[in-house]
């Protein structure tokens, strides 16, 4: 039913802020500018800059309405695989907003930020303890930045022994950023296939390893949601070839408190603090990707780092002050994402060792609950049990006329953010679900019954309805192809929405 206003119930059809312009309307009352000498050397503006005129209540309503169109982990289930969309405890936010953490500046004298430095040092200690690794570089900004840090450290170690090497091996089940990182670090990338159990083909890895391989980049658990149970053999093969073993730790949420990656023979691994230790996408803070390092790589870690000095905590900011180490440089202008460090330590401290172990166990249990309740309805390419996420392929949709994409769109009508689609590429029409430990039994059951219901609809010949979905979303089905081929990225006064749609 179309309404006169275009609004649907209390969901308001909100125009762009520029379309609400009423020239001269304003929320502030400023005095006239006094007549002063122009010191802009002819660069003063000759035309208005085009800010829209609105009153304060109009602006409040505009941004409140936009925020209501947002879907977030605080609004509902977010089963996006490989993203660990877990609840962000409010305690974290309270701690991050303490003035002693929130209001400090990275250029303050060290003596005035001893608490902040102690927090970085304490967090580094627990990261090393949880991973079983001797060193950590805290500054990388997020996962892919951490990958780059890890590979640059490995490259520095190889160059220091006069053995630069050329290739990096990346299995088909790795995160997509891994080959990109290797390429940007100047290496040729060689893909390693999987075996029929969804794990790295060990023989293919052994065949590919030679004196030109700099590193092997494994994601464990991998993007099929499976633990690489031949990782010890992989580590031995990699080290026998004189290469380094990079582990992508983005899926660390599956194994926190149960497996110490250092015991598995890895040389470096990044952690996504903003996933494993809460605050995922849009959860209140930026990313943070510290990298743990083995004894062999630790000397090349980037500056800065915190040390226990004569007068309390201090920062090593320059290679010249780093003693025996040979840091390859600096990844970030300052010391890392302080707000994320605070949230992560708050999460660790409030959970404790038993709580962290239970969180990872519950995340794996929830994923296996989905596997058990959906494997008769959807199609499972690799046998379980799985770890933190469960991967299905699209063979259950064969001959229905419904695609993975259409199935995911129909999930939106049912009030769910879709799962990850078409990734990983190793199976056809992938649907990758990661429930995390956040979801209750009731929440998971509703999700399961919804999927079973949609699968039944697909099998009963309702393909046309799937092609229209979502019909209940504010903009219904988006033209994704048009948006990619002919994007309109900027509003201009001379175009209307009607023209833009054409």
């Amino acid at each position: 039913m179309e309404t006169y206003t275009g609004n649907r119930g209390l969901r308001i059809e909100e125009p762009l802020i520029f379309e609400q312009d009423s020239p001269g309307r304003t929320g502030v009352d400023l005095s006239d500018v006094p007549d002063v000498e122009d010191r802009l050397g002819g660069l003063s503006r000759t035309e208005p800059i085009g800010l829209p005129g609105l009153s304060e209540p109009q602006v409040m309503r505009h941004y409140t309405r936009l925020s209501q169109k947002n879907y977030a982990i605080d609004a509902g289930f977010y089963p996006l695989g490989s993203c660990t969309m877990k609840h962000n405890p409010r305690l974290n936010e309270k701690m991050a907003r303490l003035p002693g953490f929130a209001d400090v500046h990275p250029l303050q004298p060290e003596s005035t930020v001893q608490g902040a430095l102690e927090l970085i040092d304490t967090l580094a200690h627990w990261i090393k303890t949880l991973t079983g690794m001797p060193a950590v570089a805290m500054s990388p900004a997020a996962g892919a930045h951490g990958e780059l840090c890890g590979l640059m450290t490995a490259r520095s170690a190889l160059e220091a022994r006069g053995d630069a090497r050329k290739r990096v091996l990346v299995p088909d089940s790795a995160h997509g950023t891994n080959p990109a990182t290797a390429a940007i670090c100047g290496y040729d990338v060689q893909a390693i296939p999987l075996n029929d159990r969804g794990r790295v083909d060990l023989a293919a890895l052994q065949d590919a390893l030679d004196e030109d391989v700099a590193a092997f980049m494994l994601t464990n658990p991998n993007t099929c949601g499976l633990f690489e149970n031949e990782i010890l053999e992989q580590a031995k093969a990699v080290h026998d070839a004189g290469a380094f073993f990079y582990c992508d730790g983005a899926n660390f949420n599956a194994i926190v408190g149960r497996v110490r990656p250092g015991d598995l023979g890895i040389d470096c691994m990044h952690l996504n603090l903003h996933k494993t230790f809460s605050t995922p996408h849009g959860g209140g803070g930026p990313g943070s990707g510290p990298v743990v390092l083995s004894e062999a790589l630790a000397p090349y870690a980037p500056i800065p780092w915190v040390v226990h000095g004569d007068n309390g905590f201090a920062l090593i900011e320059h290679a010249a002050d780093s003693g025996e180490s040979e840091p390859y440089g600096r990844m970030k202008s300052f010391h890392g994402q302080m707000g994320m460090f605070v949230r992560t330590l708050a999460y660790m401290m409030s959970h404790g060792a038993d709580g962290l172990r239970q969180a990872s166990s519950d995340a794996v249990l929830n994923a296996n609950y989905l596997l058990a309740r959906l494997s008769d309805t959807l199609s499972l390419p690799y046998e379980g049990p799985c770890m933190h996420e469960v991967l299905f392929d699209d063979s259950f949709l064969k001959d229905t006329g419904v695609t993975t994409l259409n199935f995911a769109k129909a999930m939106i009508d049912e009030g769910f953010h879709p799962m990850t689609m078409y990734f990983p590429l190793v199976v056809h029409g992938a649907l990758l679900m990661e429930p995390t430990e956040t979801e209750s039994r009731e929440g998971l059951d509703q999700f399961i019954y919804t999927i079973r219901h949609l699968a039944e609809r697909a099998r009963s010949g309702e393909a046309d309805a799937f092609q229209e979905a979502p019909v209940h979303a504010p903009r219904r089905r988006l033209d994704e192809t048009g948006a990619a081929r002919q994007p309109i990225l900027r509003w201009r006064p001379d175009i209307t929405l009607g023209e833009a749609a054409e």
Binding site: S395, L405, M421, Y422, F423, L425, H428, E480, T481, A484, R485
Partner: protein
Amino acid sequence: MNDLKYSREHEWIRLEDDVVTVGISDFAQEQLGDVVFVELPEPGQAVQQNGDAAVVESVKAASEVYAPVSGEVVEVNGALGDDPELVNREPTGGGWFMKIRVNDASELDGLMDEAAYSDFVASQGG
């Protein structure tokens, strides 16, 4: 029957003298869905058989296009810059990617003809 030969990575080639025209198969474009961007090599660039030569990006995924033969890129299809959907509309015609001057014609021996490729696609569950 047509004169195309196919690789296991779903590229097709058409040989004229010592230059092959390269594109992706109808099956490949259908699997990719709507193509929205194509990244092509520079003319003059050397490519290795089964090495990366181009990237095709669809609404679903970004995929590598591999060189079916080793050689030198002599020409690329500039029309794909403005009109990437040519890959969907005419995969084995106007949607071609690049022309490669072949180093070693014997590399072509491992490629499949139309019938063999159809069997190969069927065996992949396509």
